[in-house]
Each structure stands twice: as C-alpha cells, then as structure tokens.
Subunit: 403 residues, 2 copies
Amino acid sequence: MRIVQKFGGTSLGDLELLQAVADQVHHTVRQGHTVVVVVSAMGHTTDELIHRALVVDGRTSPGNLDFLLMTGEMQSAALMAMALSHRGTPAQAVSGAQAGIATTREFGQSRIVDVSPVFLERLIAEGITPVVTGFQGVAADGSYTTLGRGGSDLTAIALASALDADSCEIYSDVPGVFTADPRMVPQAKALTQLSYDEMLELASQGAQVLQTQAVLYARESQVTVKARSTFESMPGTRIDTGTDEPAHPVTAVALDMHVTKIGLVGVPDRPGVAALACERLASAGINIDLVFQALSHHNSRADIALTVADDDRREAIQVCQKSLGELSGDALVVDGDIAKVSVVGAGVRNHAGVAATVFRALADASINIQMISTSEIKISCIVARTDATRALNHIHDAFGLDA
Amino acid sequence: MRIVQKFGGTSLGDLELLQAVADQVHHTVRQGHTVVVVVSAMGHTTDELIHRALVVDGRTSPGNLDFLLMTGEMQSAALMAMALSHRGTPAQAVSGAQAGIATTREFGQSRIVDVSPVFLERLIAEGITPVVTGFQGVAADGSYTTLGRGGSDLTAIALASALDADSCEIYSDVPGVFTADPRMVPQAKALTQLSYDEMLELASQGAQVLQTQAVLYARESQVTVKARSTFESMPGTRIDTGTDEPAHPVTAVALDMHVTKIGLVGVPDRPGVAALACERLASAGINIDLVFQALSHHNSRADIALTVADDDRREAIQVCQKSLGELSGDALVVDGDIAKVSVVGAGVRNHAGVAATVFRALADASINIQMISTSEIKISCIVARTDATRALNHIHDAFGLDA
C-alpha cells in the first residue's frame, strides 16, 4: 500500500518523540508499504520563530515571515529523514517547492493550486522515503509560501491525492474524532467512521484533529483520511464518502465556545434589511454563522441577531456599527457569553425526530435556546456559555451516543 | 554602484547586531547604491543544528545534513530582510536555489558550477533588496546542497560575478588583511591592497578573513573583493589583480600552526620513491604542503619528510604507513610540534635578497629551520612550534612591515 503519514508538532515535541515516530514509520516501511512522511515544525519552534520576527518588527513583512517560518518544518524534516536513515530506511528531506506544491502567492495563507510530485516519485522509485515539509509551497514567480497555520494536514492530503495514495493518516495526540469533546463529555466515544460532510460540521470540535481546508480538499479529491493517535495503536477514525444509510441519525455533538452574538436593535422592518447587514459582513470577508430576525416589541421596527467567530469579532462589530448607521437603527448589542451546541449526523435530514429530541433534552435541563439554525446534516442551538457543557452532555445522553 | 555585501556569523551574533547591520545596509541603499546582501547563519546556529543532527545519529545522512544546516542561513536572511523592510528598504529573503546557484551534488562540499540570477535581477528591477542565504545551492537533480563551512564568501563572490557588481564587500569582525596576525605580532598593520595570489598564499592567516575557494573564484572571475570590518568604518583591504610593480617585495608574514610533519625514514634511495609516497597521498585527496628528501646517514637509504594539514593528519599517517611498507622503509616519524612561517609578496620572485633576509632574521634569533619551500611569491620555513611567534615577529621586523 502507498500511505501518506502526517505528524504534527505535538507528535514531534522533542528529539526523543521524533525518534519514536521514526521507529513507527520505519516499522511501516519494513512491512512492505510505501510511505511518504509529512511533518510539521517540532513543538514550539513556530512560536519561537514568530517571537524573533517580532523583535525585528518583521511580522508584517510580506513573504519574509513565510520564508522564516518554513525553516521550522525543514528542520524537523531533515532530522526525521536522518533518524529514518539511521534505522535502515533510506530517507530524504524534501521542501514544499521540491515536492512540487504550487500555491497562490498569498503569503501566510496561500492555497494549493497544483501538485506535481515528480521529485517524490523519483525518490520513491529509488527506494528512498520522502520526508516532506508540511504547510509550505512555491508560487508561480518562485517565491516560497506558507499555507497558514495547521496547513500541514492540507499538504498531506494534497500529496495523497497527487500520489494516488491508498490513504492519508493524520497523526496527533488524540486517537481520532469523538462523539463529543471528551474533556467536556466524559462518556464520549471515538468514532470508527465519518463522512467528509460530518467532519466539516464537526470542525469546531475537530480543529485539534483535522483542519477544515484539509477536509474540503479531501472531499474534493476523495482521499480517505485516517485520524489516529501517534502514541496509541488504536485504529482511529476513518473519514471518507460514507455510507448512504447511516446506522444512527446522529454521529456526534459539537460545542463551539468561540462565537459572539451581535444584535442590530430597532432597524426598519422591511425586506432587504437583513440582507444589507449580511452583505456588508460578507464583503469584509467575515463569515456569518447564524442569522435571526424578529419584530421588535416596540415601534414596529425589527431586531436582527447574528453570530460570528470570535476571531472576526472586532471587525464584525465595526462593520455592523456602520450598517446600523445606514439603517438608522437604535443600538448595537454584543454578547460574547454564548456558545453553539451542534448535533451532527448524515441522518438529521431524514429524521424529523432529531430536532424534537434536541429541544426536549435542553428543555428538560431548563436550558434556554437563544437562536436555532438547521442544515442538511446539522442542528445548531445558541445557548448561554454557562449552560454549554451541561447542554452538550444532555444532548449526548439523549441520543445514546455513549452506547 | 552595484555592491554585494556579505555578513558572517559574528556580524550577526544576535538580533541586536543583525539590526545594526540592517542600519548599515539601509544607509548604503539610501546613498543610491544597489545592494545585494549575502548572510551566514547567526552566531552559533550552525553548531546547534549539528548538535541536533548528532542526537539522531544523522551527521552522515547524505543530503539531510545540508537540508538541516541551510535553515540557519534562511532564518538570518528572513530576519535581515524583515529588519531592512522595517527601515524602509523593501527587502526579500532569497534561498540559494532561488538565487540560481547551481552546484555539483557533493553534499557538504559542493562546488558552484553556474549562477543564473534571474530571480535576483527581477527583485532588483522592482526596487527590492535581495538578502541571499550564503553557503548553499541546488544540484541538477533538484537536491539542496551546501558549499561547506565558510562557503558564504564564495556565494557572495559568485553572485558579484554573475550580477556584474562593482565590488564584493566581505564583512567580518576584523578590519581587513594584516601584515601579520595582530594577535601574534602587535605591530602588524592592516593592508590597503593585495593581489589574489598574495591573498591565496595568506590563506592560513586569512582563513578568518576570506575563504580560499572564494579567493580562487574571485581571481578566476576578476571580482574586486573588499575585506572590511562590520564594526569599524575603516576602508579595509582591497583584493584585486594588483599592480605589476609592487612598492614592497614582501606584503605580509603568515603563520600556520595546523601542520604536521611526517617522515618516512630509511626508504630506498632511487628515483620515483618520493613520487610514490606523494601519489598515494594525492589519490587519497590529501594535499601535501612541503616535501624534503635527504640521504640517510646510514646504509645509503633516503629519508623523505613532508607536511600535511592537521585535518588530514590521521589519514595521511595511514597512507604513509602503507607506502612505508611497500618501500620496505625503516620507520614512520610523526612530528606535530611544528609551525610554518611564510613570507608572502609579489616581489619575492624578483628580489633574490628576500630569502637571505628571512634566513638571516631566523639565524639571528637562533631559530632552526627544519624545512624550506619557495614559490613565485612565497617563502615558507618549518620551525619548531615553540619558536613560531618569535619567528613571525623577527621576520616582520626584518622587512620593516610595521613602517
């Protein structure tokens, strides 16, 4: 089998861990598999490099920060290739540019546009295991680029697709995707299988497991992804197209604490008002999560509430403040003390009872639902942040996910 | 003017020094010059990376050590480009591969075979100052290579040649080339000008100033090199083709403590015997410095003495032991307690009195000369290591180099 194996920073925390990973890769190669290794920077290397960039006031120097940060992955790739070679598995460190990862020229957040793995195929043909630096590539003009933090997952999946690999194994310090975050829900169980769409909806939970852009790339290129633990021999979670008839309507429950609710109070109650507010945010590059419009109690004007990611909070408030002015609204209300609880599963659309079960579970626990949003495979509820963990556990229980 | 400026590891010892260098480069650019910067790794970075390679037993992993070490120069190039950009001189870090430095595929000691600075010329045309990583390049198969330690000088001179620069300034912590090592000869003076050949002969002294391969490349490509201090505003030493009629027959006195004398005692006294010993060493890649053959006092056999660099000592002894066996010689005598004192100057060949002055100076100081070798522009004497500093000072005095 041809396998791409990606190891993140926590799996390569120090040289001892790196050598344990090398033992594991060496073992897989000895079993007769062709392995292409993708590595992140070791431990806190990236943070240390960013610190040095700050000292010379260089964080905003376009291109040079990418050039600096990519050395972190290069060092871990070189050391991993050395450790493998020392074990009797000839290996060669390979940069993103050498691996043929062509990207856009958007420094710090480039997108992969093409992968031509000629250099890698030649190494493989020579019996040499390539150890590719994650998170980086090269733009058309020859500039080195990075894919943004966590982009090593994307590198691994893009290489798995280009190399026509049988699977892409993403190793981290957790043994796969769970029915809920085990730190919040002690009864949570590791999932055996998940569809790409379910994985995407679980992104907020799964951020530690698998990066969203990477899942999108996997869905597009139909790469089978396995999320596994570096430190345990469990099979992990397989992410692929999934079955048509899922055994359970609900697969997992996700919690996102990093959301902010912004309310535009007392705006005109006429068509297009919510659209205007949303368009303004969209053109500022801000994703809106949930939108809710209601008639105001007084003076027949309307209230609009929407949620955005905490990362976009500051900019979203500025944009909404402007929209409020244009609409001669009364006030802007910002509420950061909320959380989003989501039920995810391929069966959500076909089982009317799913929504009822969610609402009943929350009502029984006396938890107030502030906003609701549903998609084909997801139902999300905004609740007070103080109720979040309780909400998660009650819903997890209600669907019997601990069974 | 178009100037290549190269800064070594001591000039970039920490981020404070790096920023002082950035001030200096920024100043030169503001004066209207086009500058291409070449940097070594900061301070002890290379040593730290080698230490990490040792931990994973990877020092001998071909190619991967090059891949690891080149990150040191990449980091200093990125940080320098950031510091320059912050000062208002737009700058971009550039790798050896991007700079078009094509090398042989001899990992750790590759030679430059071609430079095609398309990427650099494009940056220059856009008003961006390139900051190129020294010491590295790319082989024909796409593998990254390093030129060997100190190869950043070579990078700078090769780029100066390819870019048709007016001069190549090599900055270090010494203000140029001296009439003798100032640590040994307190009266030593900095030289204003030196020919390539003289610089080559002073290599043992000049190792801290300029790498031998770099001087050879400069001579070949007729690049004017200036050896200057990063920390002082003195003009430094200009190294170029030199004048036909030097003002003084002798330019400088050099001392090399890192030599070993190996004697093959009691070998047959017939033609070709010294040649055999020398050929054996040459085919092992060992340079012989001086050779001396004399009739032995007993049994009409001969003694051969030769000197090699201390770095080659161990291997040279093995090769000579073998040669001794082939020649049925009596014994191998190894003497590490020697030093080589050399008088260098373009006028040596035309002034018969130079040799006499050297011998007289040493005789007056009661210093015994063990071996002598002369070239067009150099006279070297092997003396006891304990006499070395004294020999250096006496010769320096005899030629009035402190005047």
